[in-house]
């Protein structure tokens, strides 16, 4: 592993956030992703859409079978499916599903005997996910609003939890990770693509909150 990642800094200044800070963070995330729901082009510093999916080596067979509007909405930071298989018949949760591209890929992989739930905080992204879902013939997907910090599912619900570019946006990461643990079945797998900070966080929470969703 590249020596440049010598620390994974999560949950440092986040411990100091007030309720107002968390509200501003949620509003910043909502504002950014309202725009992303229309199109991710121009909102990220890395390739998005089909170029992003191909750059992260998603299964070409699955991508080719999708209507072009579905891959066009991808804005992930990696390929969670490169970390291990999603097997036929498994139950999968996609935390922060956004426009639903990973949710749809997982649904193809798990097949009609499996099920996938895509969950997101942003109503506009969920609406885009619903539009994408209408374009594909999949009956094993449900989409719902929810927060990573308070997953609306019983204990031991899922064989696999995936997430792509989301946990870096979650203020209380420890709580969210505890929730992932809770909803996974024993021996369940967590496959995460995300951004990690490689430098010191600013000391003031104001600056951190201001740039949270940037």
């Amino acid at each position: 592993m590249d020596g440049a990642i010598n620390k994974v800094r999560m949950n440092a200044v986040e411990n100091l956030f007030t309720g107002e800070d968390r509200k501003r963070i949620r509003e910043g995330i909502a504002a950014k992703y309202r725009k992303v729901a229309v199109s991710p082009e121009g909102s990220f510093k890395y390739p998005v859409g089909l170029a992003g999916l191909e750059g992260q080596n998603y299964d070409r067979g699955i991508l080719r079978a999708l209507p072009e509007e579905v891959p066009a909405s991808y804005c992930g930071v990696g390929n969670p499916f490169s970390l291990g298989p999603v097997r036929k018949g498994e139950a999968v949760l996609d935390i922060g599903c956004g426009a639903g591209v990973d949710t749809i890929v997982a649904a193809v992989m798990t097949g009609p005997e499996g099920r996938v739930i895509g969950m997101d905080l942003t109503p506009e992204m969920l609406e885009r996910a619903r539009e994408n879902l209408k374009k594909v013939s999949l009956e094993n997907v449900t989409l719902q609003e929810g927060s990573a910090e308070d997953l609306p599912f019983p204990d031991a619900s899922f064989d696999v939890v995936i997430s792509n570019g989301v946990f870096n946006l979650v203020p209380d990461k420890a709580r969210a990770l505890s929730e992932v643990f809770r909803v996974l079945k024993p021996n369940g797998r967590f496959m995460l693509a995300d951004q990690v900070l490689t430098a010191e966080q600013p000391a003031d929470t104001g600056s951190v909150v201001e740039n949270w969703a940037r």
Partner: protein
């Protein structure tokens, strides 16, 4: 932090090359919930 939540086989697998800023890097993690639950996970206070 992932281990503190109770996960086992925690692995920072690789960088993705998709970096959102000059001070962040895209990475892939995987982890597993143990087959037999233990009491090691952090209790989250409400």
């Amino acid at each position: 932090m992932i281990r503190e939540a109770g996960f086992t086989e925690v692995e920072l697998v690789t960088q993705t090359g998709f970096n959102s800023s000059p001070v962040t890097k895209g990475v892939l993690f995987r982890a597993r919930r143990p087959a037999i639950s233990n009491d090691a996970r952090v209790e989250v206070s409400s």
